[in-house]
Symmetry: C2
Subunit: 358 residues, 2 copies
DNA sequence: CTGTTAGCGCGTTCAA
DNA sequence: TTGAACGCGCTAACAG
């Protein structure tokens, strides 16, 4: 009744377990005759190697862990999709662990990964957690995507500052002056860097700043948008710290009877799929999210394969967001986007398209 | 340089490995004195138990595998989010494996899970794969969510037929008569059941049917919507097989200069987050996606814990979708939805809200 | 209460 | 080319 082991196969095939192992792993010399006997037994017994046991003896799990703060929203799901695609093609499995708000939880999650994964990708927007990660992981290869706190460690980060500056400069260039910012939560590195970029660009242009703190989700964007809409010195543009808040803000503005972009322009960050589906389409800073995920995973695998020797890869790779102008900030783009091309482009802009989705 | 093992800890603490194990697992009697010695050594050596090895000896991995066709779109990400939340609170890890278009790929994925997981949740809209799953899994507890092909197996399925009927009846009740359907891809069980529901409801009302096949993604919804908009006998309502296609169709209609819902009403299926964020808000059939995911995981864990004995759980749990009327099908709801309440409700309608999202 | 030992299932030397 | 034996790191019996 129990699942067959390598020993059962060996007995039935009347060979040693070593031969079975050699046949199944493809390594080592094997006579066609014994190979056939083994394969026959494997078929008959419906044998499938126990990957846990294999891992223990090879000390390779062919699994990589992904630690992230949450799984909510399109940003993370796109990222994971890219990672999963890469993992599949490289023969790796993906084990995800989310909902790590604070550093303590995150480090516990990291700890529980030992012996379960060959490497880790850590997305932690909290500085503390990032430090903990590097120390707790021991000799486990780690790739940081924590928003910039991975000095001297292999990492990938988005140029949040540069992106924010681009956003603000775009708004200024299109004639906006009272530009408000809906920031991400305090303590979040990405959020703080984007805020800093906004402040710097505004200062450089000698414009007054307005900041409302959000929480990187739609609801907080809605609240912030509503608040800004009520103000006496209502802004003529809003730069939100991410797309989800931008979407919320846009709805709040519309609900308040304000036109986007006529009364208020809106710019987001990330270019999640929904950004191109909103009406008006949301101007944003495009990160090829899925592709970035794929890239991260591939780099980690490279790191794993080079374990020990080449510690040369200690660089921080920077992803430069690209400004995508859509109607939410520029009425001039309205015309182009009345055809379906925009949606198609939006859906198919990444090399990593899903197949057969439901 | 290598990570410390239980033996290293035992040596340093001057006790046996058994005592170390007892302290760490909490099982078995231990003197406070030895406990302290062990803990000291654990601290000093930064020891973390090797979960792979532990799994091998306990034959429990504390990991469950999720096999799904794709990771694209909000449906799956929401589902996984719910599962992940439940897994965390139950002390389980989640290993996801997607992009299994055909039955062969899916069964390969299932096979590779042996020895790596304690149970499996399989979402396969292909009947073949479902059958394969049940046979390939061996003695591994399995929960099917494949759209209805899990006769006699623990499974959860959505009442796709009933949902489709609800959608059509709603459209008829609001005065629509030329109701077209954008179906999911042929061969997909969910798609076919929803189509059947549409056909049946239309036949019952003595109305002529129009069906355009889509692929459950936005792009195909866009194409289908454009085609329907061009037709001489343009429909006055579209029921799409899922929300993503409904969104695409809505954009195509708007791009064609048609008003939603004035010229054409649109209804989707699933109630993914974006449904409530579209303008107009999309009428749809709500499945509490994340909650369903959580429920699935909890049930599988129950199955795992009862392994062997109670094979009583062989039921097919049915999730009944609930019609959520939004402006895309009913202008009358416009008024209520100009306030932010709708968004908030949409974002917070599930008990499973994410925290600290980015 | 503690230590010794035998597996868990597999890969992998090392002789033969 | 093959097979016997060892070890991966840990838990769980069983003695002491």
């Amino acid at each position: 009744m129990k699942a067959a082991t390598i020993r059962d196969v060996a007995e039935r095939a009347e060979v040693s377990v070593a031969s079975v192992s050699r046949v199944l792993t493809g390594a080592g010399p094997v006579t066609p005759a014994t190979r056939d006997k083994v394969m026959e037994a494997v078929e008959a017994l419906q044998y499938v190697p126990h990957s846990g046991a294999r891992s223990l003896s090879t000390s390779k799990t062919q699994t990589i862990g992904v630690i992230l703060p949450d799984l909510y929203g399109e940003f993370f799901s796109e990222l994971i999709r890219g990672m999963d695609l890469a993992a599949r093609s490289l023969g790796y499995h993906l084990i995800v662990s989310s909902s790590h708000d604070d550093a303590e939880e995150a480090s516990a999650a990291i700890r529980s990964m030992r012996g379960r994964v060959d490497g880790l990708i850590v997305l932690s927007p909290h500085l503390d957690a990032a430090n903990l990660a590097t120390s707790l992981a021991g000799r486990l290869p780690i790739l940081l995507m924590n928003g910039g706190a991975g000095a001297g460690r292999p990492s990938i980060m988005v140029d949040n500052h540069g992106g924010a500056v681009q956003a603000v400069e775009h708004l200024i260039a299109t004639g906006r002056r009272r530009i408000a910012h809906i920031s991400g939560p305090t303590g979040n590195l990405e959020a703080e860097t984007r805020l800093a970029g906004y402040l710097e660009a505004m200062a450089r242009a000698n414009l007054p700043t307005t900041v409302v703190e959000g929480a990187f989700d739609q609801a907080s964007g809605l609240d912030a948008g509503a608040e800004l809409a009520r103000r006496a010195d209502r802004p003529d543009a809003i730069f939100a710290g991410n797309d989800m808040m931008a979407v919320g803000a846009m709805l709040a503005l519309q609900d308040a009877g304000l036109g986007v972009p006529d009364d208020v322009a809106v710019v987001g960050f990330d270019d999640v799929p929904i950004a191109g589906l909103m009406r008006p389409g949301l101007t944003t800073l495009r990160i090829h999210i899925a592709e970035t995920g794929r890239n991260a995973l591939e780099r980690l695998v490279r790191l794993i394969n080079a374990a020990g020797e080449a510690v040369a890869d200690t660089a921080c790779e920077v992803v430069r967001p690209e400004l995508v102008v859509r109607p939410s900030s520029d009425p001039a783009t309205h015309a182009q986007t009345t055809s379906g091309d925009r949606l198609r482009a939006s859906a198919g802009s990444s090399p990593l398209e899903g197949e057969n989705p439901q």
